[in-house]
Amino acid sequence: MILPMVAEGLRFSAGGVEIIRGIDLELRAGGPTLVVGPNGAGKSVLLRLLHGLLAPGAGVVRWAAGDAARRQAMVFQRPVMLRRSVLANAEYPLKLAGIDPARAMAALERVGLAALAGRPARKLSGGEQQRLALARAWAMGPEVLFLDEPTASLDPAATRQVEAIIAAIAAQGTKVVMTSHDLGQARRLAEEVVLVIAGRVNAISPAPDFFERPPTGEAAAFLRGDLLW
């Protein structure tokens, strides 16, 4: 297991603006962790720091095992589809990692895209592309899966399908860490909620507690729908 993961003193600036202003965070095995907060709070940057796509200006991210990079995956808000078939997209990271590409087809079946395996991936609808991105990550069998606003650009029907897939991935034992600005989504999926405001972690608590007894004043205001910044 690469979990638990401990992040200490994370700071990150871009273009002279400090986006992450000192974050300590621990991720343990279990159900989905939802990172919520207003737009511009630094949720997406935080996810990229944890996944290793961005190098922090200060602080460290420590995983419990050495080869953590290979045992985690990430799905972006607008997934990048390679200019290839649906199946070839799902196979690409498997081949890269030296894993049997036959797992790609099984993953496509689980997200309901097996019938479209031969289609060009870029001709899929937004919802289908997001499901393909999830299948592509899922096929890798990651221990941790980062999802950056996976339903932000989807309609409700596609959102429902994507959430069902996320729940299934979590149910199989993959730790899901996901940003969202949709509180309803957080209620539906989260086991743990992390509230990020202005580049800092404002609150961390189990999901039921967070919604029923907001641990901070800002959490209560965020839940009420007040503008926090």
Binding site: H51, L53, A69, V80, R83, P93, L96, A97
Partner: protein, 234 residues
């Protein structure tokens, strides 16, 4: 105006007559330029892709150098290769001067920088889109090169055609290193230059029309295949 009209008529007549000499010249033009494009692509496309993805010291200088080499006068390239391949030059023992192989080398040298520079531009835009996703997959720069080349294959067809266009239109380099030997190293452009020298302007122009038709045909063929492949979504 009359000259141009008669040139088209003459070109048409030349093509219809199935003239042996013309067929040989056309065949050699195609073989030399296509081979040169193939060889230049083997070097130029990976180099362009690497420049698109990798950041290393000297990269910017290399990009500037490639852009400058795009403007390399063919006759200069021809002269350098002439001196290199001459019996008195460093590669003289190969006996390649005044052969089609020398012409292939000259054209490949001319267009490799073009293919590299253009493919860098095309693939850099694609890399902007792909970079984060590929790094998340654990693909480093080296692994990204073949991925970009494959995914950029439709865009790169246009790059290859640009290279082919330059190669087949080029006269200075192949004249110098090929020698315009009848039946052996004479290609469309050197034949046109020769007929111009002989003052047979209508024939020269007719050959020009034939050359344009060939280039047009190759472009149409490539475009058609590309569209077909794109429709099938390969």
């Amino acid at each position: 105006m009359q000259d141009i009209g008669s040139a088209f008529a003459l070109a048409f007549g030349l093509i219809l007559s199935g003239d042996d000499g013309l067929a040989r010249i056309v065949g050699l033009s195609l073989r030399v330029s296509l081979t040169a494009v193939g060889i230049a692509a083997l070097v130029g496309l990976p180099l362009g892709a690497l420049l698109a993805v990798a950041r290393f010291p000297g990269r910017q200088a290399l990009v500037v150098a490639l852009n400058a080499l795009m403007g390399l006068p063919p006759v200069v390239a021809g002269l350098v290769i002439y001196i290199a391949l001459s019996r008195s030059g460093p590669f003289g023992s190969l006996g390649l001067l005044f052969t089609p192989t020398a012409m292939v080398i000259a054209q490949a040298v001319l267009i490799a920088p073009i293919l590299a520079a253009l493919s860098r531009q095309v693939l850099e835009a694609m890399w902007d889109e792909y970079a984060e996703q590929l790094r998340s997959f654990g693909a480093g720069s080296w692994r990204a090169v073949p991925t970009l080349l494959w995914d950029g294959r439709f865009l790169l067809t246009t790059v290859l055609l640009a290279g082919f266009g330059r190669a087949s239109a080029e006269v200075g380099a192949v004249m110098v290193v090929g020698g315009n030997i009848e039946g052996f190293t004479r290609v469309m452009t050197t034949a046109i230059a020769l007929e111009t020298s002989k003052g047979d302007l209508p024939l020269a122009l007719a050959l020009g029309v034939v050359l344009m038709a060939i280039v047009l045909g190759v472009n149409a063929l490539a475009q058609g295949l590309r569209d077909l492949a794109a429709r099938r979504g390969a």
